[in-house]
Symmetry: C2
Subunit: 336 residues, 2 copies
DNA sequence: TTGAAAGCGCTAACAT
DNA sequence: ATGTTAGCGCTTTCAA
C-alpha cells in the first residue's frame, strides 16, 4: 500500500526539475510561484510535467530562509481542551488556513510559562501569534524582544501598543443579570472571580444596583467545572438561598448545575441560571443554559486580519455579546 | 511598554555574534548547540555574552534547511473543538512539547480534504504527523508520496505498513453493555453507527447474545450531540421502550440525555445509559455519565514515541478501555 | 580548541 | 521570455 522500499532516494529539488525540463532554475520558481516573471505557456507545461514526474515538492525551509516568512501563526492558550478555547482555536485555525497560514498551538497551563511559550513560538519564527492569556510584565518584555507581531485575545483591558480583542463582558454580565431581574428575581448570586473590579462582577453589581436591588451572595470560583461545582455547593448552604445566579462561564455553570441537581433543586423552577460564553456544551446541559454569547467567530476573523495586516491599529476592540435564551433562566415561569 | 521604535534593525545573526565575540562562526554554533566540538570555557562565556548583548536568536529556518528537521509535528483531526479530539490534542501537545516538538493542528471537516491536509502538512516538512481520521486510498497514497512518517490514531482497524493506535472499542462496548445486563437490564438499545460490523455495535450485540438476550433497538447516529439527541428522541417513540442504552460516544450521550429529559424520563430510574470515551464533559452531565474510558494520555505518549522512533514497528496496537461508573447507569437501583 | 568554507534549496535582481 | 547568480543563516567537515 504505502511505498516503502519504493523510493527512499533524495527528494527532488528545484534544480532537478530545471534539468529535467531543460530550463533554468529561475523558470521553475516563476512557474511554481506564478512568480514575478511571466513564463511561456509551453515552458510552464514542461515544468509542471517535470514536477509531476519527479514528485517535486518545494522545500519550505529554504523558502522561509530566503523570504523570511514561515506562513505560520502561533496560538497560546491556557488549555486547548477547554471548550471555550477549543472553539476559539478551531475558529482561528479555519480563518488562518483560509489565508494560507498554519497554526501552531501552545498550551501554557502555568502563567509562569507564558514568556517561555512566547519565546518558543518566536524562535520558530511564526509570522505572528495570538495570545489568549493575560500577560504580565515579563511576558510583554519577551514579546517585545521577540519582535513578533501579536494580537491579544480574550482580554478585559487594553494593553498599550498591542492590538487587543475581547468581548464586552461587563455589558454581557449586565445584560444577563438584567434578564434575570426582568423575570422577577430579586436575589441574584454571582459565581466568578472574587475581585470586585473584575468586569463580570461589576456588570452583575451594576445591573442589580440599577434595579435598586441588594447584592446577592458571591461565590468565588476559578474557570473550571470543578470550581463551579464547589461554588454551587456553597450557594446551597446559604440560609437565604438566591432565586437566581449569574455565572461567569459556561464551564463553571455546568458545575453549578450539578451541585444544584445534587442538592435536589428543580431547575429552573427553584433557581435560575444565566452564564457567559456561549460555548457549544452550554446547549446540551440540563436544563440548557441561557448564556451570553461571545462572538468567537467574528473575533477570530478580526484577530487574523489585524495580525497579518502590516499596520493594523493597535487599539483595544471590545465585541458586543448577545443573550441567548434557553431553559436555565426559567423564562416564562417567573414572568413578573 | 513594548519596544516599538526601539530597534527595528535587522536581527543579529550568528556572524554578528562571532564578530562581536571575536571568534569564528563555527564556535558560535558549537556553543549554542553544545555542538559537536568542545569549546573552551572562557570562549564560551564570551560567546554567550555576545549573544545576550546582541539579542541573538538562532534562525530556525536556516537550521532546518541545513539539518533537515523542523522539530514540528502535525496533527490532523476532524474537529479540534470536539471535546474528545480537543483532549487528545492537548495530550499530544504536552508530550510533543516535552520532547521539543511543536504541534501544527489541522482540521479536516470534510473527509475529502484529508489528502489535502496531509499534503499541506508535508509541504511544511513536519517531522511526522498524527492522523486521527479514517484514511481512504487517496489519503494513503498522499501520505506515501509525502514520505512523512505518520502514526494513525483513533482507528478501529490495522492499516498495513503504518503504526496504528486505537482503543479496543469492541471490548469497551461489551464491557459497558455487560455492566448494564448485570444490573438487570434486559432490553438494551444501541446508539451509534448503523453499520453492523462496526466494533462498538458488535460489542453491544455480542454482550447481549452472550447473556441470551435479544437485541434491543438500534438508533443510528453520527458522532455529534445533535445526532445523539435525534437518536434519543427516536428511542422515545418506541412502544416497547428499552430500559437501558449503550451510546457510542459521550457527545452523543449528552444529546440522548437531553432527549430523555425532555421526554420527561427520570434518569437513571426510567432508563440507564452507558457511553464511551471518558471525555471530561461526561463527568458533568446530569446524571453524570457512566462511561467506558479510552486511555487518551497513554495513547498520546505511545503515539509520540512511535512517531519519533526511527524504526518503530508498524503494528496496530489496541488499548484496553476501563469502565468508569457514575450515575447514569443507575448502579444500585436495579441491582438484580 | 578554533577557523575556513562548502553547501542546504530557494528567490529575485540582473543580465540576456 | 529565460538564464545566471548571489546570497538567506546555519552546520559541520576538514585543516590548522
Amino acid at each position: 500500500m504505502v511505498p516503502d522500499g519504493e523510493a527512499p532516494k533524495r527528494r527532488a529539488t528545484r534544480a532537478d526539475v530545471a534539468r529535467y525540463a531543460g530550463v533554468s532554475p529561475a523558470v521553475v520558481s516563476y512557474t511554481v510561484n506564478a512568480g514575478p516573471r511571466p513564463v511561456a505557456a509551453a515552458t510552464r507545461a514542461r515544468v509542471q510535467d517535470a514536477i509531476r514526474v519527479l514528485g517535486y515538492r518545494p522545500n519550505a525551509a529554504a523558502r522561509t530562509l530566503k523570504v523570511g516568512s514561515t506562513t505560520m501563526l502561533g496560538l497560546i492558550v491556557p488549555d486547548s481542551s477547554n471548550p471555550f478555547f477549543a472553539q476559539f482555536g478551531h475558529a482561528l485555525e479555519d480563518v488562518a488556513a483560509a489565508s494560507g497560514y498554519a497554526l501552531l498551538v501552545v498550551n501554557v497551563s502555568n502563567t509562569k510559562d507564558l514568556a517561555l511559550g512566547i519565546r518558543r513560538l518566536a524562535s520558530r519564527q511564526v509570522d505572528g501569534m495570538f495570545i489568549a492569556v493575560k500577560l504580565g510584565m515579563a511576558d510583554l518584555a519577551a514579546l517585545g524582544e521577540s519582535g513578533t507581531p501579536a494580537v491579544l485575545l480574550n482580554q478585559s483591558d487594553a494593553v498599550s501598543g498591542l492590538p487587543t480583542i475581547g468581548s464586552d463582558l461587563y455589558e454581557g454580565a449586565r445584560q444577563g443579570v438584567r434578564h434575570l431581574i426582568e423575570h422577577g428575581h430579586r436575589t441574584v448570586a454571582f459565581v466568578g472571580e472574587s475581585d470586585p473590579s473584575e468586569e463580570r462582577q461589576r456588570g452583575w453589581r451594576d445591573a442589580l444596583a440599577a434595579a435598586g436591588l441588594e447584592l446577592g451572595p458571591i461565590a468565588a470560583a476559578e474557570f473550571t467545572r470543578e470550581s463551579g461545582y464547589a461554588a454551587g455547593q456553597s450557594l446551597l448552604t446559604l440560609e437565604q438561598r438566591p432565586t437566581a445566579v449569574f455565572v461567569s462561564s459556561d464551564q463553571q455553570a455546568v458545575g453549578v448545575l450539578r451541585a444544584f441537581h445534587e442538592g435536589g433543586l428543580s431547575l429552573p423552577a427553584d433557581i435560575a441560571i444565566v452564564s457567559l460564553d456561549g460555548s457549544p456544551e452550554a446547549e446540551y446541559s440540563w436544563p440548557a443554559l441561557t448564556t451570553v454569547v461571545q462572538p468567537v467567530r467574528d473575533m477570530a476573523m478580526d484577530a487574523l486580519e489585524r495580525l497579518v495586516q502590516p499596520n493594523a491599529p493597535t487599539r483595544f476592540v471590545q465585541y458586543a455579546t448577545t443573550l441567548l435564551i434557553r431553559q436555565s433562566c426559567g423564562c416564562g415561569h417567573l414572568q413578573s
